[in-house]
């Protein structure tokens, strides 16, 4: 699946997007965050307060318990500050 990072999540992870291939045990958005956090310092910093990071699956807001199976695109970002 394709992962996108925005705003300070992007800055901390150090890239705007990448391809992810999580193991089958990673079922939910929350699992994915935990798995990403173990990939290095930048990821750990980006996700150190999991509640401060929002996610979207295929461009729709998703909670941390949402299942990622079938999603082609996942995005992580801070709470929105548009408008």
């Amino acid at each position: 699946m394709k992962a996108l990072y925005f705003a300070w999540v992007r800055e901390r992870v150090g890239k705007a997007e990448e391809e992810l291939d999580p193991p089958a045990t990673v079922a939910t958005v929350g699992d994915l965050i935990a798995w990403l956090s173990r990939r290095g310092e930048g990821y750990a910093h980006a996700f150190d307060k999991p509640l401060a990071v929002r996610a979207a699956l295929d461009r729709v807001h998703a909670r941390s318990d949402a299942l990622i199976a079938g999603a082609k695109e996942v995005a992580f970002f801070p709470p929105m500050t548009g408008g």
Binding site: F6, R59, V60, A75, F77, P79, M80, T81, G82, G83
Partner: protein, 157 residues
């Protein structure tokens, strides 16, 4: 219902957009509109850099417009949100709603703005005047509370 949703780098003409909702119609009694501008925060802010999630931004705004349509009898909606670098005094966001009566037009315009603030995937980076600082704007609890006002009738994210 006529709905326009645009996410763009360029400025726009709010008067022309709002008038477009009523032009040639005789059933529109009310058009409520809103323009959000970049403030200079007492001279400390040089610019905002607006990052957005292209694709999702348009889709999410369209979903929010659909929820407003389901809640009030609307005759037209226009939403425009800019991204990129925006200087103090420049327009950032625009919402206009046409309806037969003013209550629906005002309520829908305000709900759209509340939802844009909390659900549309945009993030503001503040650039300080002397280049001495920059930082991401933090989401306000106030905005979540404003958006929550509408949650008895529409489902949140």
């Amino acid at each position: 219902m006529m709905a326009t949703v645009r996410v763009q780098r360029d400025d726009f003409d709010p008067g022309a957009e709002a008038e477009g909702l009523a032009r040639g119609r005789k059933d529109v009694g009310a058009v409520a509109s809103f323009v959000g501008y970049c403030r200079d925060e007492g001279g400390r802010l040089a610019a905002l850099e607006l990052e957005h999630y292209a694709g999702m931004a348009e889709e999410e705004i369209a979903r929010v417009v659909g929820e407003a349509e389901g809640r009030w009898p609307l005759l037209g909606v226009a939403v425009i949100h800019r991204y990129g670098r925006i200087a103090p005094g420049e327009r950032i966001v625009f919402v206009a709603v046409a309806a037969a009566h003013r209550g629906a037009a005002f309520a829908a315009a305000e709900m759209l703005m509340d939802y844009l603030k909390t659900r549309a995937p945009f993030w503001k980076l503040v650039i300080g005047v002397d280049g001495a600082f920059e930082g991401w704007v933090e989401a306000k609890a106030d905005d979540d509370r404003s958006a929550a006002r509408w949650s008895d009738a529409v489902s949140g994210p």
